[in-house]
Symmetry: C2
Subunit: 322 residues, 2 copies
């Protein structure tokens, strides 16, 4: 089969910047669509859109490839925006609505995996798994060096900050380990957990905080000096949401000074930059923003994106409109 | 208060070799008992017992400090053996029974923590938490080096080998993550999980094996070449039971050759020796036999041991006789 000939008959799909899901499934996308890759062009994005995408009807984006008013203005034929993510606040939804541009997301395919990483990081910090692995690999165990005791997960009072899809899944998992669950959220929810309208009060009453909320103007640096102080010397912070929700400079100080007991961090303020002061600490576990990164979740996301695009190009209803 | 004078009035407690729980709570024991420490004496154990322990009524032991017929024969006044463990097959129970020596254990204080380590190791292997932590600390993330996808815990078919206290707790925890549970055990149990009378068949039908059984003549090297082959290239082995249940040499070969996908190991055949071939593998997580090592479990164990000893010396019924 002549690939290049086939490509020209395929519907166009614009990719301004590629999401991890797109990168992993790029070949499959290229079999179904003629890909317009702005990021591979020597032209500026604006010029690329003006030159190559004036008749383009569909665009795929993600959190780090926002769809702004400016971009929408440069795409007069656009009828569909698909995001390779659950969240869609990187898309100018009002402008899309007013132009009649449809928007689709990947549903809730990443929340189970994100909750799993949250629980995994907590077990790891309490039970010193990564630190224990370093201890074994360094040969210290064979040298009969003593290793400190861990701390029990069962009985811990865990405060979930943001009880959405992910927060709820963290809660149900931790209940199976015998944890007591409380939460902070914009409003009280119909759940059997204690509600704290104030995150500082939640921190005061919990051994562990698990950050699961969205990043917004309200939540930026919400976990500040006061909250960390309220969490206290025996407290543990887990962040599987977004780095800037935590005042990272303060967190590093609290960890270095032993003013909180430990942290499990999948996200950071200036990724992929991680504060070097954390590298030498045994009471922190650092993962490279991998909460949603499983083969299965990426495959599910790909299937949903593809189903939306195929529905759109055959004039059928979208699978997951937002 | 004159400590030395007080000590002489305290009841005697014989310690042939100190358990981790005894070491951590040694000071508290020494406030309540006159400790006879065979392990600190220049005398051989036999000679120490013959010289210093002829009137000793109580002994504290643990798995690595067995109470054999020989030891019992050297202790004519012994009336109580307390073990700092749940298991007691290191104690010659028949001989104790025939001599009227009471035996007490620490109840089931370690099984929750052991189950937690089992789940923590599994999440870690699937989601590459320890490897991710190494990746971040090495600066590779900041250098924008790509990191592979993990594998989803939800939907995995997990086979529990040995459905006792620990195995059951691993099962209920993993159910909360959306895993499907099967098990192998000496006999079928009244549980809602698939029973496989044969561990090879269990391995063939599962993505993950979690070893939770006791070490016995029957279970030594039960996880052999055939079982690992049945587990297969995508399979993961977790061992929180005892090292010799697995043929470690075969396991190392299977891991090095990619014939199974990964392993989380808290126990090894010749602890604290760990096969050096494992040190360079990113798909294994190695912890230094820490499954039961939390402050809370050790404190609970100490309280139960103390309660048994105090009951014995005041002629009250033991708290946890076996």
């Amino acid at each position: 089969m002549d690939q290049s000939k086939t490509q020209t008959n395929l519907p166009e799909l614009l990719v301004i910047n590629p999401s991890p899901v797109f990168i992993i499934h790029q070949q499959q996308f290229s079999q179904k669509f003629k890909l317009l890759k702005a990021y591979e062009s020597p032209l500026s994005t604006d010029l690329f859109l003006q030159t190559n995408a004036q008749s383009t009807k569909a665009l795929i984006c993600y959190g780090k490839s926002p769809v702004t008013t400016n971009i929408l203005n440069l795409l007069p034929s656009l009828q569909l925006v698909v995001t390779a993510s659950t969240g869609f606040n990187h898309i100018d939804l009002d402008k899309c609505r007013s132009r009649g541009i449809a928007v689709a997301n990947t549903r809730d395919v990443f929340s189970e995996d994100t909750a799993d990483i949250g629980v995994g990081l907590l077990i790891d910090v309490l039970r010193k798994i990564s630190a224990g692995d370093r201890f074994v690999r360094s040969g210290n165990w064979t040298a009969n060096i003593q290793y400190p005791l861990g701390s029990q997960l069962g009985g811990k009072h865990v405060g979930i900050v943001g009880l959405g899809n992910i927060g709820l899944k963290v809660a149900t998992r931790l209940e199976a380990f015998g944890c007591k669950i409380s939460y902070n959220s914009r409003q009280k929810k119909p759940v059997p957990y204690n509600f704290y309208p104030n995150v500082g009060a939640l921190a005061s009453n919990c051994n562990v905080l698990v950050i699961c909320c969205i990043l917004s103007v309200e939540t930026r640096h919400m976990i500040d000096k006061d909250v960390l102080k309220a969490l206290g010397k025996d407290g543990i912070l887990i962040n599987v949401a977004r780095g800037p929700i935590v005042d990272e400079k303060e967190l590093v100080n609290f960890l270095a000074e032993g003013e909180i007991a430990g942290a499990g961090l999948d996200v950071f303020e200036n990724e992929p930059k991680v504060p070097q002061e954390l590298y030498s600490l045994d009471n922190v576990v650092l993962t490279p923003h991998r909460a949603a990164f499983t083969e299965e979740a990426f495959s599910s996301a790909f299937q949903i994106i593809l189903a939306n695009l195929e529905a759109f190009f055959s004039n059928k209803p979208l699978i997951s409109p937002v």
